[in-house]
Protein backbone atom coordinates (compact mmCIF):
# COMPACT_ATOMS: atom_id res chain seq x y z
CA UNK A 1 0.00 0.00 0.00
CA UNK A 2 1.01 3.59 -0.34
CA UNK A 3 2.65 3.98 3.04
CA UNK A 4 4.60 0.74 2.94
CA UNK A 5 5.89 1.53 -0.52
CA UNK A 6 7.21 4.84 0.74
CA UNK A 7 9.07 3.18 3.59
CA UNK A 8 10.62 0.61 1.28
CA UNK A 9 11.78 3.32 -1.09
CA UNK A 10 13.25 5.20 1.84
CA UNK A 11 15.36 2.21 2.78
CA UNK A 12 16.60 1.82 -0.77
CA UNK A 13 17.60 5.46 -0.93
CA UNK A 14 19.65 5.23 2.22
CA UNK A 15 21.34 2.02 1.22
CA UNK A 16 24.89 3.29 1.55
CA UNK A 17 27.63 1.22 3.06
CA UNK A 18 28.05 1.41 6.82
CA UNK A 19 31.70 1.86 7.64
CA UNK A 20 34.30 2.30 10.30
CA UNK A 21 37.91 3.41 9.93
CA UNK A 22 41.05 3.87 12.00
CA UNK A 23 43.82 6.28 11.14
CA UNK A 24 47.03 4.22 10.77
CA UNK A 25 49.21 7.25 11.49
CA UNK A 26 47.97 8.01 15.01
CA UNK A 27 48.85 6.18 18.21
CA UNK A 28 46.25 6.79 20.92
CA UNK A 29 48.61 5.83 23.73
CA UNK A 30 50.74 8.95 23.19
CA UNK A 31 47.78 11.29 23.08
CA UNK A 32 47.11 13.84 25.82
CA UNK A 33 43.36 14.40 25.31
CA UNK A 34 41.15 11.80 23.69
CA UNK A 35 37.69 13.08 22.87
CA UNK A 36 34.61 11.48 21.41
CA UNK A 37 31.84 13.04 19.32
CA UNK A 38 28.60 11.14 18.69
CA UNK A 39 26.06 12.49 16.22
CA UNK A 40 22.68 10.72 16.30
CA UNK A 41 20.66 11.80 13.28
CA UNK A 42 17.16 10.76 12.30
CA UNK A 43 18.57 8.59 9.52
CA UNK A 44 22.27 7.99 10.24
CA UNK A 45 24.60 8.10 13.25
CA UNK A 46 28.31 8.75 13.43
CA UNK A 47 30.98 8.47 16.11
CA UNK A 48 34.39 10.15 15.83
CA UNK A 49 37.36 9.64 18.15
CA UNK A 50 39.97 12.40 18.16
CA UNK A 51 43.43 12.31 19.70
CA UNK A 52 44.54 15.87 20.50
CA UNK A 53 42.24 17.28 17.85
CA UNK A 54 43.20 14.86 15.07
CA UNK A 55 40.87 12.21 13.68
CA UNK A 56 41.86 8.84 15.10
CA UNK A 57 38.83 6.77 14.13
CA UNK A 58 35.22 7.10 13.01
CA UNK A 59 32.10 5.05 12.33
CA UNK A 60 29.07 5.75 10.19
CA UNK A 61 25.89 3.69 10.38
CA UNK A 62 22.11 3.76 10.00
CA UNK A 63 20.16 4.95 12.99
CA UNK A 64 17.25 2.75 12.07
CA UNK A 65 14.25 2.69 14.36
CA UNK A 66 16.51 2.12 17.33
CA UNK A 67 17.45 5.70 18.18
CA UNK A 68 17.95 5.19 21.94
CA UNK A 69 20.66 2.62 21.29
CA UNK A 70 22.22 4.21 18.24
CA UNK A 71 24.79 6.12 20.26
CA UNK A 72 26.02 2.93 21.91
CA UNK A 73 26.04 1.08 18.59
CA UNK A 74 27.96 3.85 16.83
CA UNK A 75 30.45 3.98 19.68
CA UNK A 76 30.97 0.21 19.75
CA UNK A 77 31.36 0.23 15.99
CA UNK A 78 34.12 2.86 16.05
CA UNK A 79 35.96 1.21 18.92
CA UNK A 80 35.83 -2.09 17.02
CA UNK A 81 38.26 -0.57 14.52
CA UNK A 82 40.74 0.28 17.28
CA UNK A 83 42.41 -1.34 20.28
CA UNK A 84 41.52 1.56 22.56
CA UNK A 85 39.42 0.94 25.67
CA UNK A 86 36.32 3.14 26.11
CA UNK A 87 37.38 4.45 29.51
CA UNK A 88 40.39 6.19 27.98
CA UNK A 89 37.99 8.86 26.63
CA UNK A 90 38.48 12.22 28.38
CA UNK A 91 35.31 13.89 27.13
CA UNK A 92 32.28 12.93 25.11
CA UNK A 93 29.92 15.32 23.35
CA UNK A 94 26.56 14.25 21.94
CA UNK A 95 24.89 16.05 19.07
CA UNK A 96 22.26 15.66 16.39
CA UNK A 97 18.53 15.17 16.39
CA UNK A 98 18.84 12.31 18.90
CA UNK A 99 21.36 13.98 21.17
CA UNK A 100 19.17 13.47 24.21
CA UNK A 101 19.79 9.77 23.71
CA UNK A 102 23.57 9.80 24.13
CA UNK A 103 23.91 8.49 27.70
CA UNK A 104 27.70 8.47 27.66
CA UNK A 105 27.90 12.18 26.74
CA UNK A 106 29.38 14.63 29.22
CA UNK A 107 27.30 17.29 27.51
CA UNK A 108 25.29 17.90 24.39
CA UNK A 109 25.79 20.63 21.81
CA UNK A 110 23.47 21.49 18.94
CA UNK A 111 24.04 20.26 15.39
CA UNK A 112 24.35 23.85 14.25
CA UNK A 113 27.45 24.47 16.36
CA UNK A 114 28.97 21.04 15.70
CA UNK A 115 28.33 21.19 11.99
CA UNK A 116 30.12 24.52 11.66
CA UNK A 117 33.09 23.34 13.70
CA UNK A 118 33.27 20.09 11.76
CA UNK A 119 33.01 21.87 8.42
CA UNK A 120 35.88 24.14 9.43
CA UNK A 121 37.95 21.03 10.12
CA UNK A 122 37.18 19.13 6.94
CA UNK A 123 37.07 22.06 4.50
CA UNK A 124 39.59 24.37 6.13
CA UNK A 125 39.45 27.90 7.54
CA UNK A 126 38.27 29.42 4.23
CA UNK A 127 34.79 27.97 4.58
CA UNK A 128 32.29 30.68 5.59
CA UNK A 129 28.93 29.25 4.58
CA UNK A 130 27.72 25.71 5.18
CA UNK A 131 24.48 24.55 3.61
CA UNK A 132 23.23 21.25 4.98
CA UNK A 133 20.34 19.82 3.00
CA UNK A 134 19.06 16.85 4.93
CA UNK A 135 16.23 14.39 4.71
CA UNK A 136 13.99 16.35 7.03
CA UNK A 137 15.55 19.76 7.45
CA UNK A 138 17.66 22.44 5.79
CA UNK A 139 20.37 24.24 7.73
CA UNK A 140 22.21 27.32 6.53
CA UNK A 141 25.17 28.27 8.73
CA UNK A 142 27.72 31.06 8.49
CA UNK A 143 30.93 30.74 10.43
CA UNK A 144 34.21 32.53 10.95
CA UNK A 145 37.70 31.23 10.23
CA UNK A 146 37.68 29.26 13.48
CA UNK A 147 34.41 27.52 12.75
CA UNK A 148 32.44 29.59 15.23
CA UNK A 149 28.84 30.20 14.14
CA UNK A 150 28.09 33.82 13.24
CA UNK A 151 24.64 33.42 11.68
CA UNK A 152 22.31 30.47 11.18
CA UNK A 153 18.85 29.31 10.36
CA UNK A 154 17.25 25.91 10.25
CA UNK A 155 14.02 24.96 8.56
CA UNK A 156 12.44 21.76 9.78
CA UNK A 157 8.83 22.84 9.60
CA UNK A 158 8.19 22.66 5.88
CA UNK A 159 9.10 19.70 3.68
CA UNK A 160 9.73 21.79 0.57
CA UNK A 161 13.42 21.61 -0.30
CA UNK A 162 14.12 18.66 1.99
CA UNK A 163 14.98 15.12 0.95
CA UNK A 164 11.57 13.99 2.16
CA UNK A 165 9.79 16.43 -0.13
CA UNK A 166 11.90 15.17 -3.02
CA UNK A 167 11.08 11.57 -2.16
CA UNK A 168 7.34 12.29 -2.27
CA UNK A 169 7.66 13.87 -5.69
CA UNK A 170 9.88 11.12 -7.03
CA UNK A 171 7.26 8.62 -5.84
CA UNK A 172 4.56 10.54 -7.70
CA UNK A 173 6.51 10.46 -10.94
CA UNK A 174 7.67 6.87 -10.48
CA UNK A 175 11.34 7.86 -10.73
CA UNK A 176 13.85 6.48 -8.25
CA UNK A 177 15.70 9.04 -6.15
CA UNK A 178 19.15 8.32 -7.54
CA UNK A 179 17.87 8.84 -11.08
CA UNK A 180 16.28 12.20 -10.32
CA UNK A 181 19.36 14.24 -11.13
CA UNK A 182 20.10 12.72 -14.50
CA UNK A 183 16.48 12.52 -15.65
CA UNK A 184 15.77 16.12 -14.66
CA UNK A 185 18.30 17.28 -17.24
CA UNK A 186 16.80 15.19 -20.04
CA UNK A 187 14.77 18.13 -21.29
CA UNK A 188 15.14 20.15 -24.47
CA UNK A 189 15.03 23.39 -22.54
CA UNK A 190 14.63 24.26 -18.90
CA UNK A 191 10.90 24.66 -18.11
CA UNK A 192 9.59 27.30 -15.71
CA UNK A 193 9.44 26.07 -12.10
CA UNK A 194 6.17 24.75 -10.65
CA UNK A 195 4.46 27.70 -9.06
CA UNK A 196 3.86 26.27 -5.64
CA UNK A 197 6.62 25.47 -3.21
CA UNK A 198 4.28 23.50 -1.00
CA UNK A 199 5.01 19.87 -1.92
CA UNK A 200 1.34 18.93 -1.68
CA UNK A 201 0.19 21.67 -4.05
CA UNK A 202 3.16 21.09 -6.33
CA UNK A 203 1.96 17.51 -6.68
CA UNK A 204 -1.50 18.66 -7.83
CA UNK A 205 0.12 21.04 -10.24
CA UNK A 206 2.36 18.24 -11.53
CA UNK A 207 -0.63 16.01 -12.24
CA UNK A 208 -2.16 18.82 -14.27
CA UNK A 209 1.07 19.28 -16.23
CA UNK A 210 1.32 15.58 -16.97
CA UNK A 211 -2.21 15.66 -18.32
CA UNK A 212 -1.26 18.59 -20.51
CA UNK A 213 1.32 16.30 -22.06
CA UNK A 214 4.48 17.29 -20.21
CA UNK A 215 6.99 14.44 -19.98
CA UNK A 216 7.93 13.18 -16.54
CA UNK A 217 11.41 14.58 -17.07
CA UNK A 218 10.03 18.03 -17.78
CA UNK A 219 7.80 17.98 -14.68
CA UNK A 220 10.77 16.76 -12.65
CA UNK A 221 12.92 19.59 -13.98
CA UNK A 222 10.21 22.12 -13.07
CA UNK A 223 10.07 20.74 -9.54
CA UNK A 224 13.85 20.60 -9.08
CA UNK A 225 14.00 24.21 -10.17
CA UNK A 226 11.30 25.17 -7.66
CA UNK A 227 13.17 23.34 -4.90
CA UNK A 228 16.45 25.00 -5.81
CA UNK A 229 14.71 28.38 -5.67
CA UNK A 230 13.22 27.53 -2.29
CA UNK A 231 16.59 26.55 -0.82
CA UNK A 232 18.19 29.58 -2.44
CA UNK A 233 15.74 31.99 -0.85
CA UNK A 234 16.37 30.38 2.54
CA UNK A 235 20.12 30.67 2.26
CA UNK A 236 19.85 34.20 0.85
CA UNK A 237 18.36 35.29 4.16
CA UNK A 238 21.87 34.79 5.54
CA UNK A 239 23.67 35.74 2.38
CA UNK A 240 26.20 33.32 0.87
CA UNK A 241 29.78 34.22 1.78
CA UNK A 242 32.49 32.30 -0.05
CA UNK A 243 33.72 29.71 0.41
CA UNK A 244 30.66 27.51 0.42
CA UNK A 245 30.36 23.90 1.50
CA UNK A 246 27.27 21.80 0.81
CA UNK A 247 26.55 18.74 2.91
CA UNK A 248 23.65 16.38 3.56
CA UNK A 249 21.82 13.74 1.56
CA UNK A 250 20.32 16.14 -0.97
CA UNK A 251 23.83 17.30 -1.86
CA UNK A 252 24.04 14.15 -3.97
CA UNK A 253 20.93 15.12 -5.94
CA UNK A 254 22.36 16.90 -8.96
CA UNK A 255 18.87 17.84 -10.15
CA UNK A 256 18.51 20.29 -7.27
CA UNK A 257 22.10 21.06 -6.39
CA UNK A 258 23.37 21.98 -9.85
CA UNK A 259 20.45 24.35 -10.34
CA UNK A 260 21.05 25.78 -6.88
CA UNK A 261 24.78 26.30 -7.41
CA UNK A 262 23.99 28.06 -10.67
CA UNK A 263 21.75 30.48 -8.75
CA UNK A 264 24.33 31.02 -6.02
CA UNK A 265 27.15 31.38 -8.51
CA UNK A 266 29.72 29.42 -6.53
CA UNK A 267 31.36 26.02 -6.74
CA UNK A 268 31.11 24.15 -3.45
CA UNK A 269 34.31 23.03 -1.70
CA UNK A 270 35.51 19.45 -1.74
CA UNK A 271 37.11 17.43 1.00
CA UNK A 272 38.80 14.06 1.32
CA UNK A 273 36.62 13.42 4.36
CA UNK A 274 32.99 12.27 4.07
CA UNK A 275 30.90 15.31 5.02
CA UNK A 276 28.48 13.02 6.81
CA UNK A 277 30.87 12.88 9.78
CA UNK A 278 31.13 16.69 10.08
CA UNK A 279 28.74 16.86 13.05
CA UNK A 280 30.57 14.19 15.05
CA UNK A 281 33.94 15.80 14.22
CA UNK A 282 32.68 19.15 15.51
CA UNK A 283 31.40 17.49 18.66
CA UNK A 284 34.74 15.81 19.32
CA UNK A 285 36.57 19.10 18.71
CA UNK A 286 34.37 20.89 21.22
CA UNK A 287 35.27 18.13 23.66
CA UNK A 288 38.93 18.82 22.96
CA UNK A 289 38.50 22.56 23.55
CA UNK A 290 36.69 21.87 26.82
CA UNK A 291 39.46 19.50 27.96
CA UNK A 292 42.02 22.21 27.25
CA UNK A 293 39.97 24.47 29.50
CA UNK A 294 40.34 21.92 32.26
CA UNK A 295 36.89 20.38 32.02
CA UNK A 296 37.94 16.84 31.07
CA UNK A 297 36.83 13.82 33.07
CA UNK A 298 38.77 13.33 36.27
CA UNK A 299 40.70 10.10 36.31
Amino acid sequence: MQIEMREEKKQEFWRWKESNWKNPDIEWRSGKFITLGIDVGSVSSQAVVMVDGQIFAYSNMRTGSDSPHSARKALDFVLEATDMPEDRVDYCVGTGYGRVNVPMADRTITEIACHARGANFIYGPEVRTVLDVGGQDIKAIQCDEKGRVTNFLMNDKCAAGTGRGMEVFADLLGISIDEVGERSFQVKEEPPPVSSTCVVYAKSEALGLLRKGWSREKVLAAYCRAMAERIYSLVERLGVKPQLAVTGGLAKNSGVIERLMFMIGLKPMNSKWDAQIAGAIGAALFGYALCQKGKGRKK
Binding site: I112, V149, F152, K157, C158, A160, S196, R230, R237, L290
Partner: protein
Protein backbone atom coordinates in the same frame (compact mmCIF):
# COMPACT_ATOMS: atom_id res chain seq x y z
CA UNK B 1 25.81 35.52 16.42
CA UNK B 2 22.52 35.90 14.66
CA UNK B 3 20.25 33.05 15.69
CA UNK B 4 17.31 32.85 13.26
CA UNK B 5 14.49 30.78 14.71
CA UNK B 6 11.50 29.86 12.59
CA UNK B 7 10.80 28.72 9.07
CA UNK B 8 9.71 29.45 5.55
CA UNK B 9 6.71 27.69 4.08
CA UNK B 10 4.47 28.19 1.08
CA UNK B 11 2.82 31.19 2.67
CA UNK B 12 5.88 33.17 3.73
CA UNK B 13 8.91 33.69 5.97
CA UNK B 14 8.48 33.63 9.71
CA UNK B 15 11.73 34.18 11.59
CA UNK B 16 12.53 35.67 14.96
CA UNK B 17 16.20 36.68 15.07
CA UNK B 18 18.06 36.95 18.36
CA UNK B 19 21.43 38.66 18.14
CA UNK B 20 23.39 36.86 20.85
CA UNK B 21 26.18 39.44 20.72
CA UNK B 22 23.61 41.94 22.03
CA UNK B 23 21.56 39.64 24.26
CA UNK B 24 22.49 39.72 27.95
CA UNK B 25 19.98 37.13 29.13
CA UNK B 26 17.95 39.68 31.12
CA UNK B 27 14.68 37.80 30.52
CA UNK B 28 12.44 40.83 29.85
CA UNK B 29 11.24 39.22 26.63
CA UNK B 30 10.19 36.12 28.56
CA UNK B 31 8.09 38.22 30.90
CA UNK B 32 6.17 40.17 28.24
CA UNK B 33 5.48 37.46 25.64
CA UNK B 34 1.87 36.21 25.87
CA UNK B 35 2.73 33.05 23.97
CA UNK B 36 5.78 31.94 26.01
CA UNK B 37 7.98 31.94 22.94
CA UNK B 38 11.23 32.81 24.73
CA UNK B 39 13.32 31.03 27.35
CA UNK B 40 16.55 32.16 28.95
CA UNK B 41 19.19 29.45 29.28
CA UNK B 42 22.51 29.50 31.16
CA UNK B 43 24.64 28.52 28.18
CA UNK B 44 24.12 29.21 24.50
CA UNK B 45 23.37 25.79 22.98
CA UNK B 46 24.67 26.96 19.61
CA UNK B 47 27.85 28.60 20.93
CA UNK B 48 29.41 26.51 23.69
CA UNK B 49 32.41 28.82 23.97
CA UNK B 50 30.20 31.78 24.88
CA UNK B 51 29.84 32.51 28.57
CA UNK B 52 26.67 33.78 30.14
CA UNK B 53 22.92 33.37 29.81
CA UNK B 54 21.10 33.98 26.55
CA UNK B 55 17.52 34.03 25.29
CA UNK B 56 16.38 31.40 22.81
CA UNK B 57 13.09 30.50 21.15
CA UNK B 58 11.55 27.46 22.84
CA UNK B 59 11.93 24.26 20.87
CA UNK B 60 8.22 23.47 20.68
CA UNK B 61 7.39 26.96 19.36
CA UNK B 62 9.86 27.11 16.48
CA UNK B 63 7.68 25.34 13.95
CA UNK B 64 4.57 27.27 14.85
CA UNK B 65 5.90 30.80 15.00
CA UNK B 66 3.42 32.25 12.54
CA UNK B 67 0.55 30.92 14.61
CA UNK B 68 2.03 31.56 18.04
CA UNK B 69 2.87 35.18 17.21
CA UNK B 70 -0.54 35.93 15.66
CA UNK B 71 -1.99 37.41 18.88
CA UNK B 72 0.53 40.26 18.66
CA UNK B 73 0.06 40.67 14.93
CA UNK B 74 -3.59 41.52 14.23
CA UNK B 75 -4.58 42.44 10.68
CA UNK B 76 -5.34 46.03 11.69
CA UNK B 77 -3.77 48.55 14.07
CA UNK B 78 -0.75 46.43 14.81
CA UNK B 79 0.95 47.73 17.97
CA UNK B 80 4.72 47.60 18.50
CA UNK B 81 5.72 44.05 19.39
CA UNK B 82 6.05 43.58 23.16
CA UNK B 83 9.23 41.50 22.91
CA UNK B 84 11.00 43.99 20.66
CA UNK B 85 9.95 46.88 22.91
CA UNK B 86 11.03 45.09 26.07
CA UNK B 87 14.52 44.26 24.80
CA UNK B 88 16.75 47.16 25.86
CA UNK B 89 19.71 46.03 23.76
CA UNK B 90 17.69 45.62 20.56
CA UNK B 91 18.64 41.96 20.25
CA UNK B 92 15.24 40.80 18.97
CA UNK B 93 13.74 41.29 15.53
CA UNK B 94 10.90 39.70 13.54
CA UNK B 95 10.97 39.02 9.82
CA UNK B 96 7.20 39.56 9.40
Amino acid sequence: MLANYGYKDGSGDYFITINTDLCNGCGECVAVCPANIFIVVDEDPNDPMRDGPVAIVAEEKKKKLKYECNPCKPTQNRPPLPCVEACKTGAISHSW
